[in-house]
Symmetry: C2
Subunit: 278 residues, 2 copies
C-alpha cells in the first residue's frame, strides 16, 4: 500500500511513522508546501519520498489530508477530481464544513471523513512521535456517503494504529467537539491572556503557578494556524458553548460577589460530578 | 520537636508523613473534629496521637492549621491566646483575611503566615501522599510581623520538606494567587458545568475528550469545602480576574462570530506567549 500524506506536521508525520512501522504502508509519500518540513521529514525517514500533489496522488492508494481544516475544504474538491480508484481521507477537527465542500462532488464516495482524536499542544514536523494514536479514538463521519471498500480501507488503517473507531454524522461530531475540545482550548487561551495581562512579573507567575495553573493553561500553547480555522469553521457551535460557558462563569461571579456560600457550594458540587467522566 | 496538625486532610496528613519521615518532628499530634479521619490517620501512622485542640497545643512546639481558610480565621485568635512559647502557622491559600483576623492580637508574633503551593485535585486523609511538597514553593507572608525565632522554625520546617521559600506580603500573595490558581479552578468548574449541561450522553464525552479536555477540567473535581471559602475570602481579587477573563472570552467570541481571522490569530499568538512561562 502506498500512502500519501498531505501536510507534514505533528499529525501527518506521527501517522507516517506508525503506518510504516506497523507495515500498513509500504511506501509513504510526503507533500508539503514548506520545503524545509519536507526535508526534515525525509531526513528523519518519516517519509520515503516527497513530490508535488498531483504526482503523489497518481502513485498512491490512499491520500491523507493532514492540513488545517480550512485548507482541507479548499483542496479536497480538486483532489477528488483525481481520485478514481483511490481513497481520500482527512484528519480535520471540524467535519461539517468539509462535508459541505464536497457533498455534491461526483467522487464523494471515494472520500472517508475522519478525525483521529490525538495530539499534543506542540505542533510541526519536529513534534512528531510514534504511538501518538495508540488506544485513542477516531471518529469516522457520514460513513454511508463513502464507498464500502473505501471505508473498509480506512477502518483497517486505523486498526493498524490501534485506534478505537466511532461513527457519527458530521453535524453531531462538530457539536460534541465544540463542547469537549474546542471550548477547552478557548478557555485556556483566554486564561493565558488574562494572566499575561496582569502579571508583568513573570518570575512570580512561574513561582506561584503550581500544578493547577499549568494543566489548565497548557493548551494555550496550541498552534494558531490549526486552531484559527477550527474556531471559524465550527463557529455556530462554538458561539453556543462560549455563551453557555460565560453564563456559568457569571453564575460563579454572582455567588462570590454576594457571598452566597450555599449557592457557590451547589455550583462546585455540581461541577464535581465531572469526576464520573474524567 | 512535637508538631500538632489541625485538620487531617490531604495537606495536613501529607505534611505529617514527611515531617516525621525527615526527622523534623519526633511526635505528631492530630486534631480533627471528624473522628473517622482521626482514626484513619492513626491507623496509617500519619499521626502518633489524636487529642482535642487545647491539650494538643499544650503538648506542642509547633501548631499547623490545615483546615479551610474560613475556619483558620475563626479558630486562629483563640489558638494564639494559648500560644505562649509556641509557634503557630497555617497553610491557607488566602492570606489577607487571615492576617486581618489576628493583626491586633497580642500574640501575633507567635504566628507565621504560610502557603505551601502543593496539592492535587483529590482531598481528604485518604489522598495523603509522601513527597507532595518536595521541590515546590512555599510562600511566607508578612514575615516582619513574626518573631524571628518563630519564622526561623517554620523556615527550617519547610526546608526539611525540601520546599523553596518565597516571601511576600499577604495582599500581594492574594492577588497573585487569584491570577494563577484561583481563576484556574473557576475556569475548570465552569467548564465542567457547561459540558455536563449539554452532554447528557456521557459516553460520548468520555470518548471524545482526548487529552485536552481532561487536563483543563481536572481541577473541577476539587473540594467544595476548601474552595468555597477561598473564593469568598479572596472575593475582590477574584471578581477582578473573573471580569478580565470573561472579557478575554468575549474578545474571542467577537472575533469568531464576525469571522475576523486576523484578530483571532493575534489573540491566539498573544496567548501562545504563555509558553515562555509554563
Amino acid at each position: 500500500m502506498t500512502v500519501t500524506i498531505v501536510g507534514l506536521g505533528l499529525i501527518g508525520c506521527s501517522m507516517a511513522i506508525d503506518l510504516k512501522k506497523t507495515g500498513f504502508a509500504k511506501q509513504i509519500i510526503g507533500v508539503d508546501t514548506n520545503k524545509q518540513d519536507q526535508k526534515t521529514a525525509l531526513k528523519n525517514n518519516y517519509i520515503d519520498s516527497a513530490m508535488n500533489l498531483s504526482l503523489a496522488i497518481k502513485d498512491s492508494d490512499i491520500i491523507i489530508l493532514a492540513v488545517p481544516v480550512d485548507v482541507i475544504g479548499e483542496i479536497l474538491p480538486s483532489i477528488l477530481d483525481l481520485s478514481k480508484g483511490k481513497v481520500v481521507t482527512d484528519v480535520g477537527s471540524v467535519k461539517y464544513s468539509i462535508e459541505k465542500s464536497i457533498n455534491n462532488h461526483k467522487n464523494r464516495r471515494n472520500f472517508v471523513s475522519g478525525h483521529p482524536i490525538a495530539g499534543t499542544e506542540n505542533s510541526g514536523v519536529n513534534a512528531a512521535e510514534s504511538n501518538l494514536f495508540n488506544n485513542k479514538v477516531v471518529i469516522l463521519c457520514d460513513k454511508q456517503k463513502s464507498l464500502k471498500e473505501a471505508l473498509e480501507k480506512i477502518e483497517k488503517m486505523y486498526r493498524f494504529l490501534n485506534m478505537n473507531i466511532l461513527y457519527m454524522n458530521s453535524k453531531e461530531h462538530d457539536i460534541h467537539c465544540a463542547y469537549v475540545s474546542h471550548i477547552s482550548h478557548l478557555s485556556s487561551f483566554a486564561l493565558a491572556l488574562s494572566v499575561l495581562d496582569k502579571e508583568k512579573d513573570e518570575e512570580n507567575i512561574l513561582n506561584l503557578a503550581g500544578g493547577g495553573f499549568e494543566s489548565t493553561v497548557r493548551l494555550a500553547k496550541s498552534n494558531a494556524q490549526m486552531w484559527n480555522p477550527i474556531f471559524i469553521n465550527n463557529k455556530e457551535n462554538i458561539i453556543e458553548v462560549l455563551d453557555n460557558y460565560i453564563n456559568k462563569l457569571n453564575d460563579f461571579k454572582k455567588a462570590i460577589k454576594s457571598g452566597k456560600r450555599k449557592e457557590l457550594n451547589e455550583l462546585i458540587l455540581q461541577a464535581n460530578k465531572i469526576s464520573k467522566i474524567v
